[in-house]
């Protein structure tokens, strides 16, 4: 087991210039949210731990990560003037940063963004994103962007997860990866505000883009509940998933649809 040392990043302008490394915490998002409310932190402040004991995923799901094997970190983003209704751009920019990072690292592998912000490697989840925004006067006051990337861990409680090591049989240096990831994310954050550009990149990277596949309608009111076959054609302005079904386009919110995954 290798205990890493993380230093302020050198290849970025904002993200990770201030870096806080804690030996252990429950969730980097929770701790960074707590810190920002009690102290003044510069834009881009990054909090990382090698032992996240109660990592959070979507909707109170847990993010399980073995100590010292993976990257679990959060960074603070303080926009100057960013309307809350544009928030989906944050999902796109963060996902695209990770997508570009992985695509450059593993050019032979299939990397995808599973709507709305899961990163898949050969169809299995390798990276999770949890973004929490504070909204004041219809604007984003600040965002806490949490990222969990499976790196050197090789055993997972769920079958649908993978890691860099599982995919390549190599062991990776975590501080080097962190530097690379943040470089790619920061690059994408420069596109925030340019919805159509982010959307075109994001759409092309989407898992099952323009492929006929199986889904389950949970609660979309215009369709019968249950399994159906449709084709992802993109997203709308709110980030809803656009699926074509028998020559009609339907837009799904996050709780309205499930992906049927064949290999699960």
């Amino acid at each position: 087991m290798k205990i890493n040392r993380f230093y302020p990043l050198i290849s970025t302008q904002i993200v990770g210039k201030k870096l806080i490394n804690v030996p252990e915490c429950n969730s980097t998002n929770t701790l960074l949210n707590h810190l920002i409310q009690n102290t003044k932190l510069p834009n881009g402040t990054l909090l990382i731990t090698e032992n996240q004991t109660a990592g959070r995923g979507q909707h109170h799901n847990r993010w399980f990560s073995e100590p010292y094997q993976n990257l679990t970190f959060s960074f603070l983003w303080i926009p100057k003037n960013f309307a809350a209704h544009q928030a989906f751009q944050l999902n796109m920019a963060t996902s695209l940063g990770l997508y570009n990072f992985l695509s450059a690292l593993l050019p032979q592998k299939k990397i995808h963004i599973k709507w709305s912000n899961d990163i898949l490697l050969e169809g299995s989840k390798i990276c999770g994103i949890l973004i929490e925004n504070k909204i004041r006067n219809h604007k984003i006051l600040y965002s806490v962007v949490g990222i969990g990337l499976n790196v050197n861990q090789t055993q997972f409680p769920i079958h649908s997860a993978t890691s860099l090591k599982l995919a390549t049989q190599q062991t990776y240096d975590l501080p080097t990866l962190l530097e690379n990831i943040c470089f790619h994310i920061e690059k994408q954050y420069q596109n925030l505000g340019n919805f159509s550009y982010l959307k075109s990149c994001y759409t092309r990277a989407l898992y099952r883009y323009q492929e006929l596949s199986w889904y389950e309608n949970i609660s979309h009111k215009s369709l019968p509940v249950g399994k159906f076959q449709g084709t992802i054609l993109g997203i709308n302005d709110h980030g809803k998933l656009a699926i074509a079904l028998e020559n009609k386009l339907y837009h799904f919110g996050i709780q309205e649809i499930k992906f049927f995954i064949e290999n699960v």
Binding site: Q58, H60, A83, A84, H85, A87, F88, L90, N91, W115, S116, N117, I129, L130, I131, E132, N133, K134, I135, R136, N137, H138, K139, L141, H238, G239, K240, G253, I254, Q255
Partner: protein, 161 residues
């Protein structure tokens, strides 16, 4: 009679100080009576969710039907002194940080700018929404865990406290 005309009419009545108005046209018959307990009328500000829902009922009543008795105008006189906290985005409204925790705010609570009033989840983004007004929560206008639209009123707030 168009919805807008009815809104204008009710707004005019609310602002007029008249306690009772009876109106009959070829299309509609309207009987408006102000709650005698209600405070002095204040200028009509904007229709809030509860009045918006009530108006189509009036419109849909054919002229041949008996007179429409509406208690809504009294509500207008009441709610026009209130302000609303609106949804900053399309998403799902959550009144509490997690299902087992108490809501951020309840009816009767005092809020001020900066106080977190709800979470709007939008495509896996979690947005803690702060109040942009000061006052007392009069009504929560949205059910927990239900979809909300951009600019939809979420809370009715009495700023005069």
């Amino acid at each position: 009679m168009k919805v807008k005309e009815i809104q204008d009419l009710l707004g005019f009545i609310a602002a007029s100080g008249l306690s009772e108005v009876n109106l009959k046209t070829s299309e509609i018959e309207l009987h408006v009576k102000r709650n005698p307990d209600s405070p002095a009328p204040v200028p009509y500000v904007e229709p809030v969710a509860s009045t918006m829902r009530a108006i189509p009922q009036i419109v849909s009543t054919p002229s041949a039907e008996p007179a429409v008795k509406s208690s809504q105008p009294a509500d207008i006189a009441d709610t026009s002194k209130y302000v609303t906290i609106k949804s900053p985005m399309v998403g799902t409204f959550y009144a509490a940080p997690s299902p087992e925790k108490p809501p951020f705010v309840q009816v009767g609570d005092l809020v001020k700018p900066g106080k977190v009033v709800c979470i709007i989840e939008a495509m896996k983004l979690f947005n803690e929404v702060e109040s942009d007004v000061s006052g007392r929560i009069v009504k929560v206008l949205v059910e927990n865990a239900t979809p909300v639209e951009y600019d939809q009123p979420l809370f009715l707030v009495d700023p005069n406290v």
